[in-house]
């Protein structure tokens, strides 16, 4: 069993014909920083407590897929909708998906010390989310390790520090090159073709 089986198939609530498919390793994800987001001492970088332990535990820590989000969508779906709860936007930080997925954690089980995947990144889109939405969460293998609550809490605390480490400095969203609506449309076509091809290959093999 892989550490993050849910990464292999789309988590879009409408199914495989919608959204952009599973998050690939070569993508970049964006974390929006608001007034109320906790950051490091000088406010230039994310800190462990920028991330919600509770959200990571149920794989709902929200991120945006940089390749599938227009600036307009970012402003409307993230900045405006987050304003009431989190205050005004301060900036954004980004991370490479393969780096996030390469994070490892040492856990001590009955069979000794094991190095396991720390974090999963999913294309989780629930009702009301935009299609370029992604989520991060602790890898299932950590949850399955049957650690005590306190040991699990310590492992999770270390992982959050590491997640903060791999995100970039906080910068203005104006410094990004956001894809155009046309590019996003083309990527939707590509994702539909990919689903068709996958179905075709599967039928060839069966």
């Amino acid at each position: 069993m892989t550490d993050c089986p849910a990464e292999k198939q789309t988590q879009h609530f409408k199914g495989k014909w919608h959204g952009f498919g599973p998050v690939s390793n070569c993508e970049t994800v964006i974390f929006a920083v608001f007034d109320t987001t906790k950051c490091n001492q000088n406010g230039s970088k994310l800190a462990a407590d920028s991330f919600s332990n509770k959200s990571l535990a149920i794989n709902t820590q929200s991120l945006a897929r940089a390749a599938y989000l227009t600036r307009l969508c970012f402003d409307q779906e993230i900045v405006e909708s987050g304003k009431a709860e989190k205050g005004k936007l301060v900036g954004v930080a980004h991370a490479k998906v393969d780096v996030l997925r390469n994070l490892r954690a040492d856990i001590t089980t009955n069979s000794g010390l094991k190095k396991v995947r720390a974090l999963c990144v999913l294309d989780k889109v629930d009702q009301g989310d935009f299609d370029g939405h992604a989520t991060a969460g602790y890898a299932e293998v950590i949850e399955r390790a049957q650690l005590s609550q306190k040991s699990l809490g310590k492992v999770r605390a270390k992982i959050r520090m590491d997640v903060a480490e791999v995100f970039s400095d906080i910068t203005s969203p104006d410094r990004y090159r956001w894809p155009s609506q046309f590019e996003i449309g083309m990527k939707r076509v590509v994702s539909i073709v990919q689903v068709l091809l996958q179905g075709w290959f599967r039928s060839l093999h069966s």
Partner: protein
């Protein structure tokens, strides 16, 4: 019962940014017998203690007073009232009392210990995990005082009550993680190595481990 002082007790709380915040609110101080500097003083807590506390909660009140004067309190049957078995009286005198603590042999808190206690007051820990957070805080304060730790670490309580102290500069860092289980987890950050991929566990009553001392010294040296 004569009211000896009725004022807004504004006190400085150190924060992680290095600045202090003026917080806290009305504390009415009265004596039980009208004798100042006697053995028993009741602190009647006013409408708001700020920082999201429930002012009538004895445990929160204990934490507030622990932070300021390092004394533990015996609560009375009336949860609004606590009995402080030290000769502290009016607002003015309570400040003096802070200075008097050393004379009375009560250990004064280091500034880092005060930050940890203040952060616990501010923290948003799940109710069912508050015992873990309180135990973690006690362990952290004990280690900080005994190992004589200082600096400007990031102090973080997570919703599950786990407390992390993180000292970091660029790609070098060291973290102490407490979960109230009698053990402190120490994790290191170096170029090419992240916190979750390494670490040692030490019992709270152990002496400072060499790896930790070396890592802290390296951070101090480079600052």
């Amino acid at each position: 019962m004569p009211v000896l002082a009725k004022s807004s007790l504004m006190l400085d709380i150190p924060t992680q940014s290095g600045k202090s915040e003026q917080r806290f609110a009305p504390v009415n101080v009265t004596t039980t017998g009208g004798v100042l500097a006697s053995s028993a003083v009741n602190l009647l807590i006013g409408a708001s203690l700020g920082i999201g506390l429930h002012p009538t909660s004895a445990s929160d009140l204990n934490a507030v007073l622990e932070y300021f004067i390092g004394a533990s309190l015996a609560t009375t049957a009336d949860q609004n009232t606590v009995q402080l078995t030290e000769p502290y009286a009016t607002t003015e005198i309570s400040f003096k009392a802070e200075r008097n603590i050393d004379e009375h042999g009560v250990a004064s808190r280091s500034s880092l210990a005060k930050i940890i206690i203040a952060e616990r007051l501010r923290s948003d820990v799940d109710a069912e995990c508050s015992a873990i957070a309180d135990a973690a805080k006690q362990e952290a304060v004990a280690i900080v005082q005994r190992w004589n730790l200082s600096g400007d670490p990031r102090v973080m309580f997570s919703d599950d009550g786990v407390l992390t102290l993180q000292w970091q500069r660029d790609e070098y860092g060291v973290a102490l993680i407490f979960a109230g289980d009698g053990m402190a987890s120490i994790a290191f950050r170096r170029p090419g190595q992240l916190y979750a991929e390494n670490g040692i566990d030490v019992a709270i009553n152990e002496n400072i481990p060499k790896q930790f001392a070396d890592a802290m010294a390296a951070l101090d040296r480079d600052n």
